[in-house]
């Protein structure tokens, strides 16, 4: 977690940051390569290269270019967005345990998607991403508004987020049992968070928005560091903290909601990525945000690759794998975080 002490990290840490970024980028490239190479169908390396480079010889155009490439890229993109979103939310709430899931965005998106599926069954397949984004933003805003109105501290804000999430989940349960028959499946696949069937259209539908928001967040990241100087010095430097924080929060919520809209509820990435990033490069946002994005991309794309390579042709949803990995991580975090000073009260 970013606090004043980690801000004044020594020069050693500052030197480390570029090295870490390079290493993570390499790591991401390996995951992307695995994403192209692994799947239900074995594609020999030669065929893979032929296809990618457009050479003559045996090729697998759809499997590599039509399925694995967009899917892996989408996994990396949404993972990066979730990681970045988590870093922003944790930082703004000054709570190392916050994440898009904890502040109710995931459940809000899930509720909106199910509501949309049952109110407009014919348009549901196309409207899912929009419904999810709207639901996530609404749930996030509700939490934030309540927090603002009641002037809550960070710990209680987290609790409000959890509570709003519970209300949404109750709605999800209600819709699932009242509106579906014994063989319902489409909403359940989405609820567990899966990149199954995602292609270029899905990628292009969110890539511009996510890319723009991520760029904006990274540009603003140095201003995030300034808020730790305290309000007066920040103001002297021309930073209007309230506005900046508000804008960043909107960006954070949008990043998570749009990602959830297109890939479903892939949980815990927004929690894990910023923590791993903080251990690697410390708490300065200029270093933390890009690192968290890279870690998130690796986690999400990696979970997708693992899910389709483990027991083909059955696919295990990426969301199940991130939860199985993320929940113990969260537990470990809770166990270790409290030993350090500045833990949330």
């Amino acid at each position: 977690m970013a606090d004043a002490s980690t801000l004044q990290s020594g020069p050693g840490r500052r030197l480390r940051t570029p090295a870490v970024l390079v290493a993570l980028t390499c790591c991401l490239l390996v995951v992307l390569a695995l994403g192209l190479g692994l799947g239900a169908v074995r594609v020999p390396a030669a065929t893979l290269l032929n296809t990618l480079l457009g050479l003559d010889g045996p090729r697998q155009d759809f499997i590599v270019l039509g399925s694995r490439l967009p899917r892996t890229l989408l996994g990396a993109l949404t993972g990066a967005a979730l990681g970045l979103s988590g870093a922003i939310i944790q930082s703004l709430l000054r709570n190392p345990l916050a994440s898009p899931k904890i502040v109710g965005i995931n459940s809000g998106a899930a509720f909106a998607v199910l509501l949309c599926a049952f109110l407009l069954p014919d348009a549901a397949a196309r409207l899912t991403p929009f419904a999810a984004a709207v639901g996530g933003v609404v749930a996030g805003s509700v939490v934030w508004l309540m927090a603002g109105r009641l002037a809550l501290d960070a710990a209680r804000l987290t609790l409000v987020g959890i509570a709003v999430g519970f209300v949404m989940e109750a709605g999800v349960e209600f819709l699932l049992v009242t509106q579906t028959g014994p063989e319902f499946s489409a909403p359940l696949v989405w609820l567990t968070g899966s990149l199954w069937g995602r292609g270029w259209t899905h990628l292009w539908s969110v890539a511009p928005a996510l890319g723009g928001l991520m760029a904006l967040a990274l540009l603003m990241s140095f201003r995030l560091d300034l808020q730790y100087l305290g309000p007066q010095r920040a103001a002297a430097l021309g930073v209007r903290l309230g506005l900046e924080r508000g804008m960043l929060l909107v960006i954070g919520v949008l990043l998570a909601a749009l990602s959830v809209g297109v890939v479903g509820v892939v949980g815990f990435i927004g929690l894990m990525a910023p923590h791993i990033a903080a251990r690697l490069v410390g708490g300065r946002h200029r270093a933390l945000l890009p690192t968290a994005a890279l870690v998130g991309a690796i986690l999400c794309a990696g979970a997708d690759v693992a899910g389709r390579a483990l027991m083909p042709p059955i696919e295990i949803s990426a969301g199940i794998l991130t939860a199985l990995l993320g929940a113990p991580f969260f537990i470990w975090l809770l166990l270790t975080e409290g030993r350090r000073p500045g833990a949330p009260r």
């Binding site: 987290t158 509570a163 109750a170 049992v177 939860a323 199985l324």
Partner: protein, 347 residues
């Protein structure tokens, strides 16, 4: 800190007597009303409360009387005992953690118990183990994990970490449950069964199992009541007065896990009942656990009886599982507690 013990207001003697008598009467009326509504509704329109007359008629009972005796009564009893068990489990957990937000569902016990049962269905080696036992054992493991996370074993429970720990443990349990269903497409339709509580198919043996647990639970809660009161005074005070807080914590968590585990094995996880009921009870009856035990049990019974009636009265042919009804009531309640409780109202 809330008032240590409820003190009688300086009312006139008559008014005080009236107040003491009115509350139990009202609570009893609520329970009886819920039970009556629950018993009076079901699939058949020709079965009504009057058919309770055949309760002891043996094989001579009419069809309607048999329906009442063999199907409706066990179900309503199950609802009532679920309410007692979950309410008391919540009461005990709130006392031993000194946290108003503690409840079986929020500390991961429900999800742990559900995971135990699903493992019993999937893992061949566990096939012979009774479901209740698996549910209790995994529920205990879950609450132990949550307590460890919250720092309870080192003496100081942090409120937020307790809830977050419970959520983490619960998320892990449900993720594992979901994995089981992904691998087995046929089981997907049952996913609701083990993530939402339902008592649509219970019969007398289940009701008796829950009833016995409820009875033992009430006795255990009475036994613990004094210790629970001391916990409210704080760890040090509790220690000074001869009750080791750590032992209270262990005992309380154990009792709560057994009660919850048996409930999950019968009905699946029912969230929020254990949260809402103790809160209502404290609002009505103050903070003395010797009194709270009975009030909580009564209110729990009432809430679940009404929820069960609601699940049967829901418009449409199919019922809604009772767990969904409780969640719809309980989740906003949780939000309300979080929003209204004063920041300093817990240890």
């Amino acid at each position: 800190m809330r008032q240590v013990l409820a003190q009688d207001r300086p009312l006139g003697e008559g008014a005080a007597v009236l107040r003491r008598a009115a509350l139990p009467c009202l609570a009893l009326l609520v329970v009886l009303g819920g039970c009556a509504l629950s018993l009076a509704t079901g699939g058949r329109s020709d079965v009504g409360l009057a058919d309770l007359s055949g309760l002891f008629a043996g094989s001579g009972a009419t069809l309607a009387e048999q329906t009442m005796r063999d199907i409706r009564l066990p179900r309503t009893l199950c609802a009532v005992f679920l309410g007692v068990n979950l309410g008391l489990a919540g009461l005990i957990l709130q006392a031993v953690t000194r946290n108003a937000l503690a409840a079986p569902g929020l500390l991961g016990i429900n999800q742990g118990a559900a995971l135990g049962i699903v493992l019993g269905l999937i893992v061949p080696a566990l096939a012979g183990v009774p479901q209740s036992l698996l549910a209790v054992v995994f529920g205990l493991l879950a609450v132990a994990a949550t307590f460890a996370i919250s720092g309870a074993f080192s003496g100081r429970i942090e409120s937020l970490r307790l809830i977050l720990g419970g959520i983490a443990v619960g998320a892990l349990g449900f993720a594992a449950v979901r994995l089981g269903y992904t691998l087995e497409d046929d089981l997907a339709r049952q996913v609701v069964r083990w993530t939402v509580g339902d008592i649509g198919g219970v019969r007398m043996p289940e009701a008796l199992r829950l009833g016995a647990t409820a009875l033992l639970g009430i006795l255990a809660a009475f036994g613990l009541a004094q210790r629970l009161n001391l916990m409210a005074l704080g760890q040090a005070a509790s220690h000074g007065l001869g009750a080791d807080p750590m032992r209270t914590l262990m005992l309380g968590a154990g009792v709560a896990s057994v009660m919850t585990g048996v409930c999950v094995s019968v009905a699946g996880p029912i969230a929020f009942a254990g949260l809402v009921v103790p809160h209502l009870a404290k609002a009505l009856a103050g903070a003395d656990h010797r009194r709270l035990v009975l009030v909580t049990a009564t209110l729990g019974a009432g809430l679940m009886a009404w929820a069960d009636a609601g699940s049967k009265l829901w418009p449409g042919f199919s019922e809604i599982p009772v767990g969904v009804i409780v969640s719809i009531i309980g989740a906003p309640w949780f939000l309300a507690i979080v929003l209204t409780r004063r920041a300093s109202s817990h240890g």
